[in-house]
């Protein structure tokens, strides 16, 4: 292939129809309270991990809703599990089980995830 000195970048666009959303569906089964998340960001503001890194449960829930799991898989283990987010969440989301379930699902789907990794 020829290199003309510039590259073709892939669309940043979230293509809803092409991305797999079965992980979010499985997450809803494991922890239905995740459906109540309204992306307010309280969790991220109190997060122990977010002091040092850009860990954001709000964002990861959204990414899974859109089917973009790559960033989530890379980061979800950064959670310290301290539980502050759960106490802070105004919508009663069981945030720790959300994270625990994401970790479980992602571990069990690791091979499939690598195959269609990211957008």
């Amino acid at each position: 292939m020829n290199n003309f000195g510039y590259t073709i970048t892939r669309d940043r666009q979230i293509d809803f129809d092409k991305l797999p959303r079965d992980i979010y569906r499985e997450l809803c089964q494991k922890e239905p309270s995740v459906k109540a998340c309204i992306s307010c960001g309280t969790c991220g503001a109190t997060c122990s991990a977010a002091q040092f890194t850009d860990f954001s449960l709000r964002k990861y829930i959204l990414l899974l809703r859109r089917g973009d799991h790559k960033e989530v898989a890379q980061n979800i283990d950064k959670c310290m599990f301290c539980g502050k987010c759960q106490l802070a969440c105004p919508m009663g989301v069981n945030t720790r089980n959300v994270i625990h379930s994401i970790q479980q699902i992602i571990t069990s789907n690791l091979i499939t995830l690598n195959e269609n990794a990211g957008i």
């Binding site: 292939m1 020829n2 003309f4 000195g5 510039y6 590259t7 073709i8 970048t9 892939r10 669309d11």
Partner: protein, 356 residues
């Protein structure tokens, strides 16, 4: 699709297009990209439609290309445009017809500004006077050259020798249209059919017997974007935009792409080659590209002009598949001969994209 809905909308976006006595302003880059297109416009207007089209050899760039590359100020642009108008005034014409979409957009923009801020017009007149001692009148009508072809599309069709119809099956050929962003996206009421569902090219394709297909990224920019192409480091943005359009239109299997802008046909044509070299992907049938035409080239084909006189050999994507569908005869032997019959040489064969 409710076609009556579109028709209703098109009625809201009808513009006045002068019918004769035009002052024609050429495009800077088309003369390099598709040199025969402007010649074809003049030929159609003068020979087929017997119109008066005046060209002044002293006219210059409208400065749009540098304006959009952020290299000149608005004052410079207004003065340059004022000078163009003064040449038109001097010729006694009142109908200004630019060949370039960006020029058309810029003239429209400047005229709108003068409308809303008369002091700017006064300032432009002063600056022109100080610089050149010239005066000008504003044009009564500004129409893009594609508006003119659109206006006379039915006349052209009735004089035409060929139609946008597959001559073997009798099925209309499928075209996708792409208007230049500066045609109506800034001032929807200045474009035929508006910005969302522009009609100018659709009208031509319909009049010439073809069928227009919509595709999701129809509204998306071709990717030229001035700075995006001119600065090499940004060139990836340009080709990525074009690729987005190709990916979106390819499933609809268009027979051709019709454009009305200097940059669009160029980039939609050349990037098909570049993408094929970079990624090994082609978008037309059987490894060829999707032929890209300017509206003048299309009108010329319909009127039976020799494809090589229309400059179609300068396209990167071979137009022969389209010619064959339309039943237009062409001589491969003369494809790369100059006006005096001299051999111009042959372009190198691309490694992936198939060409004739």
């Amino acid at each position: 699709m409710k076609i009556e809905g579109k028709k209703r909308l098109w009625q809201d976006y009808q513009k006045e297009i002068a019918t004769d006595n035009y002052f024609y302003a050429r495009s800077c880059i088309r003369q390099n990209f598709f040199p025969a297109s402007e010649k074809t416009f003049l030929r159609v207007m003068r020979e087929e439609l017997n119109k008066d089209v005046y060209e002044d050899p002293r006219h210059t760039t409208c400065s749009g290309i540098v304006y959009h590359s952020d290299l000149v100020t608005m004052d410079t642009t207004m003065t340059v445009i004022a000078r163009q108008f003064s040449l038109m005034t001097e010729s006694g014409r009142k109908n200004y017809v630019p060949s370039c979409i960006t020029s058309f957009g810029l003239y429209t923009e400047v005229l709108e500004m003068w409308e809303h801020f008369p002091e700017l017009e006064t300032k432009a007149r002063e600056m022109l006077w100080k610089a050149t001692g010239r005066e000008f009148e504003k044009p009564e009508n500004v129409a893009h050259a594609s508006d003119i072809i659109y206006k006379f599309r039915n006349e052209i069709a009735s004089r035409g020798k060929f139609r946008l119809v597959n001559h073997r099956t009798g099925q209309p050929l499928r075209g996708v249209e792409h208007i230049g962003c500066h045609y109506s996206k800034m001032f929807p009421h200045k474009g035929v059919g508006g910005a969302e569902y522009p009609y100018v090219l659709v009208g031509m394709i319909e009049a010439f017997g073809g069928e227009v297909v919509d595709y999701p990224e129809r509204r998306h920019c071709c990717g030229f974007g001035f700075r995006q192409y001119v600065v090499k480091a940004n060139r990836g943005f340009s080709i990525s935009s074009s690729r987005k359009k190709f990916e979106s239109m390819a499933p609809y299997k268009p027979d051709f792409i019709l454009t009305n802008c200097p940059g669009c046909p160029y980039f939609l044509d050349r990037w098909q080659y570049a993408i094929s070299e970079m990624e090994g992907v082609t978008y037309g049938e059987n490894g060829y590209g999707i032929p890209v035409l300017t509206y003048e080239e299309l009108a010329g084909l319909v009127l039976g002009y020799d494809p090589w006189d229309l400059g179609l050999q300068t396209h990167q994507v071979s137009v022969e598949p389209l010619l064959e569908k339309m039943g237009i005869p062409y001589n491969p032997a003369t494809k790369y001969l100059g006006a005096q019959g001299q051999d111009l040489g042959r372009p190198e064969k691309p490694s992936v994209l198939k060409v004739y």
